[in-house]
Amino acid sequence: MDALIVIFITGLISLFVGMLKKPYLTLGIIASGLVLSFCLQMNYGNYTSIFSKYDNLYFNITQLYFSEMAIGFTLLLVLGGFQYFKQDIEHTSDYLSLLLFSLCGAICLIGFTDLFMFFLGLEILSIPIYVMVGIKKQDVLSAEASLKYFFTGSFATAILLFGIALLYGATASFNLATIQEAIQSGSYSEPMLLIALLFIIAAFLFKVGAVPFHFWGPDVYQGAPDIVMAFMATVVKLAAVFAFLKLYAGTFQFLSEFWTGALNIAIILSLFLGYLSALRQTSFKRMLAYSSISNTGFALFALLTTSPSSAGSLWVFLVAYGCATIALVTISMIIHNVDDKIAAFKGIGYKNPFIGFVMIMSLLSLSGIPPLSGFFGKFLLLSNAINDHLYLVILALVSSAIGAFLYLRMIVLSLAKETENTVEKYPISILQYIVLGVCTVGLLGGWLIIIL
């Protein structure tokens, strides 16, 4: 709660500071605000917040971990994307504070205890993104992406709201605990509740970008600026998946027998459709978008089991996925891949070993090769689910083989000895070094958290 307020206020301050047109100052404020909120979340249990009597937001250890991840990713993205935002010196602070506002939404979405906060969080998360997708105003693609995202998003919101309304109708409450109680005690209107669950699933599948509600994904990712795309793939997805997990594996867990079937189908479709469509992509962001669909499929495995460890597994997986995505996007920005071509990565790894190393690590982690975090994430998720969903796990492994091919192609490309790019040396700012370094650490050692 405190962190949320700190972030919001930081955003506000930076909006005003932005008028001074001193981007580094803005960056400093934002970074320190994020760090502060990060620390606040870290020490959440150690002090009593003055807001603690308001229980609309509540953070236990799991939620803290996830919110810290969200803050951390945002920080990385702010640092990594600064170079990019700085180009438009007029609005640097606007962009950055929009990201922060979106982060507020993400934190609401992680900490919600009732559907009010859930809905508001979702909207706060989304609306700045609708805007951010379209900030390349001259670019037709950017506008189109923004448009598509907005309309599909609003449509999904309407579906979600309808589901929430039915849910309320069925259980007469917006509070998760009460709803859970009602479900447990059986005092609810049955068809309405079940339909409500399905509507909400649909909305969630849209938000996390799973089949068959994934259509916005590739188009929007491709049209969006790199850094916004990374934000969507990491923070937005993280918050949405976690909320999904919380609602379904938590509140609705007693109906899991009902909804897992629907989810299974969505997972299978996502796993395969994502990687399959990505196979022959030439556009880098589009490829990432498709692969993110499949990765979502993996992430949704966390919902299939109600065991307490599934959140931890999801965390590891998302850390791996987020770090890899951020690293890749940062690299794409470093090589100034304006045309958004996969071919632009040719030979950069050989030319610049550091980039190459980070790139290989990210891609390998995405394809689930041990001992990187990606492997452990997948491994934990799958082994949680194996008892009840053996076939699903096997299908997931099959799809991960397809995925491996996809990533391997990029690995090979980036390690080629010859290059298409004539640039002698890529300018890497210190911030980008930091981002890449942190990502690599996350990829290599993120899984160690399970040992602790």
Partner: protein
């Protein structure tokens, strides 16, 4: 010195010789290399004689345990008994002589040291083969001699003209031997499965009276062993390698492909006599195969024009005779023939080597003639060899062949008749060759004529020694008819000291019958001699050129087309299958299958990508469809799951 250590020295000496020559031989002068090799052989022979003289009863020399697995143990262990010591003497004795001969014969060769290394190695392997106390050690030696044979056949692998064909011949020999080896291996496995041991003595004990082993098992074992024997001893169906193996230097042909290695098959059967005796069926097979081989090889030899090829087929034919003896259960007779055959065949080969040496590596008998004057010693010794092999009275071959014939008559007159045909053909082709080579006028042209010379003493000395042995070798096992006190010495020697060999009834026939047989055989040989002399020496009826042949002569000359048949039946199909598998199955089915499986995903990706058509309305539409399907899911779920 105890017998144990002598035997070990005996075995080790050739190995040491090989190691010394192999490592530093290249830097030593040829004469030193040759001396080393020959002297270790000589020493080894002396050891063998020592062992022979001190030998009293069967003895085992245990070295170490080679392999200990659950259920069985394989030992490096040697067995000294009459059979092994006798074979050792033959191997080392003939070996020494041939080493000596090689010192002269190979003197101009660049690979002099290599040659002697291989020869010594061969002897070592051969000694392992004959001295081992179990089939495993025998198998070691068995494979070892195969390799040495391969190396020596292909010795002149880099020859400009014949290099490739030499090495192909070597490969053929090796592969055919390998087939036999596989048979031996199966035999071993069957024995192991049945008896749990490979030791001869244990096996002999276990197959004693009341053994209770199934007949089929025994037949299986013995057939496997016999398959091995056909490989090594060049019997039908695996005999075609031996004539090709003549690509090796002539001393090699003499040592390996006439005197020692090829008799390993005989040795194996004799060694396993206790098994074969229990499997009459196999014995019959051996008999028929031996007979057939003998006839076929003799027939082919009739119209061969390569001096070494004739001898090679003659070897095959003689080996067939030995197998006939084995098939009849006349083990000692077979060994006797092995012994005499070793003498006169080594002599013949060395003689032919001497001829070839003189002819500057020309081997076609159509280009020779009238060499008797130029090569007197060779001629004389060659004559003795020819007479011996033809069964000229009182020479060694006469006795050993006669024993076989005698047994054949006792077994079945028809068998005797067929054998007589084979023997007659032997005489015919041997005399044909002899007369063509040494009589008449020289047909090799001026240039070759000027080079003709008698070989040096180092080459003729072994010839002479072998000639003496060929003449008097028969004394070893005289029929009772001649010298009662010394009769059947070898027979007794072997039977007494080798477990199981005394199964054979020594003398089947009455003395008079024996006498008649001898007479018939002698008469036939003499007749053929005269006929051949008239035909080839007097009338100068020369061998025909290849293209003039027709009828049976052509078939004989073309080796009954067996090589072609094998190529058609085995080699071509295998190569065809190999190519077929590779180009059609491996590439087109498997590799392509995997590839198209991967392609399938790519194609599927193409399909799923079509879905993403970029139109917002369609996205929304599909979302609605998704929603509808979810609600339908509700209905379906409600049907199967009521709550």
């Amino acid at each position: 010195m105890t017998i144990d250590s002598i035997v070990l020295i005996l075995i080790a000496l050739p190995l040491i010789g090989a190691l010394v020559n192999g490592t530093i031989g290249k830097k030593l002068p040829n004469i030193v290399v040759g001396t080393i090799a020959t002297s270790v052989m000589l020493a080894s022979f002396i050891c063998a004689v020592l062992v022979f003289s001190q030998f009293q009863k069967t003895q085992l020399i245990h070295l170490f345990s080679l392999l200990k697995l659950d259920g069985f143990q394989l030992n490096a262990r040697f067995q000294i008994d009459a059979l092994s010591i006798w074979m050792t003497m033959i191997v080392t004795g003939i070996g020494t002589l041939i080493h000596l001969f090689s010192m002269g014969y190979m003197s101009h060769d660049k690979g002099y040291y290599k040659f002697f290394t291989y020869l010594n190695l061969f002897i070592f392997a051969m000694l392992l083969l004959v001295l081992g106390s179990n089939y495993f050690v025998l198998f070691f030696g068995w494979e070892g001699v195969g390799i040495c044979s391969y190396l020596l056949i292909g010795f002149h692998f880099s020859d400009l003209e014949k290099g490739i064909s030499n090495s192909i011949a070597a490969r053929k020999a090796f592969i055919m031997n390998r087939i036999g080896d596989a048979g031996l291996l199966f035999g071993l496995f069957l024995i192991l499965a049945q008896f749990g041991t490979l030791e001869y003595l244990d096996l002999a004990r276990l197959t004693g009276p009341g053994h209770g082993v199934a007949q089929t098992m025994l037949i299986g074992i013995t057939l496997c062993l016999f398959l091995a024997a056909t490989g090594k001893s060049a019997q039908i169906p695996l005999f075609t390698w031996l004539p090709d193996a003549m690509a090796g230097p002539t001393p090699v042909s003499a040592l390996i492909h006439a005197a020692t290695m090829v008799t390993a098959g005989i040795y194996l059967v004799v060694r396993s006599n206790f098994l074969f005796e229990l499997a009459p069926f196999t014995k019959d097979i051996i008999l028929y195969i031996g007979l057939a081989t003998s006839l076929v090889a003799a027939f082919i030899a009739l119209r061969q024009n390569d001096i070494k090829k004739v001898l090679a087929y003659s070897t095959v034919s003689q080996l067939g005779l030995m197998f006939v003896a084995l098939g009849m259960g006349a083990y000692t007779v077979a060994i006797f023939h092995v012994t005499t055959h070793a003498f006169f065949k080594a002599l013949l080969f060395l003689g032919s080597g001497s001829v070839i040496h003189a002819m500057s590596d020309e081997q076609d008998i159509r280009k020779m003639g009238g060499l008797a004057k130029k090569l007197p010693i060779t001629h004389a010794t060659f004559l003795i060899g020819t007479l011996a092999i033809s069964g000229f009275p009182l020479l060694s071959g006469f006795y050993s062949k006669d024993e076989i014939l005698g047994h054949a008559l006792a077994a079945n007159p028809l068998l005797y008749g067929i054998l007589m045909v084979s023997v007659a053909m032997t005489s015919i082709y041997m005399f044909r060759m002899y007369f063509l080579v040494f009589f008449g006028s020289f047909r090799g042209g001026e240039k070759a004529a000027s080079h003709l010379h008698e070989s040096p003493l180092i080459m003729t000395l072994p010839l002479m020694i072998l000639a003496i042995l060929s003449v008097f070798g028969g004394i070893l096992n005289l029929p009772g008819l001649f010298l009662h006190s010394g009769a059947h010495w070898l027979n007794d020697f072997l039977s007494a000291n080798t477990a199981g060999l005394n199964l054979l009834l020594a003398e089947h026939l009455a003395a008079s019958t024996t006498l008649i047989l001898m007479f018939v055989a002698s008469a036939m040989t003499l007749l053929i001699l005269i006929w051949a002399y008239i035909n080839y020496a007097k009338k100068q009826k020369l061998a025909l050129a290849d293209e003039e042949l027709h009828g049976w002569q052509l078939w004989s000359n073309k080796k009954l087309y067996i090589d072609e048949l094998y190529a058609l039946v085995f080699v071509k199909p295998i190569e065809f299958i190999g190519t077929l598998f590779y180009s059609n199955f491996d590439i087109k089915v498997l590799a392509k299958g995997v590839y198209s499986f991967a392609q399938l995903f790519s194609k599927l990706g193409g399909v799923t990508r079509k879905w993403q058509n970029g139109v917002l309305s369609s996205y929304l539409f599909w979302m609605l469809i998704g929603l509808i399907s979810l609600i339908s899911y509700y209905f379906i779920k409600l049907q199967v799951w009521n709550f």
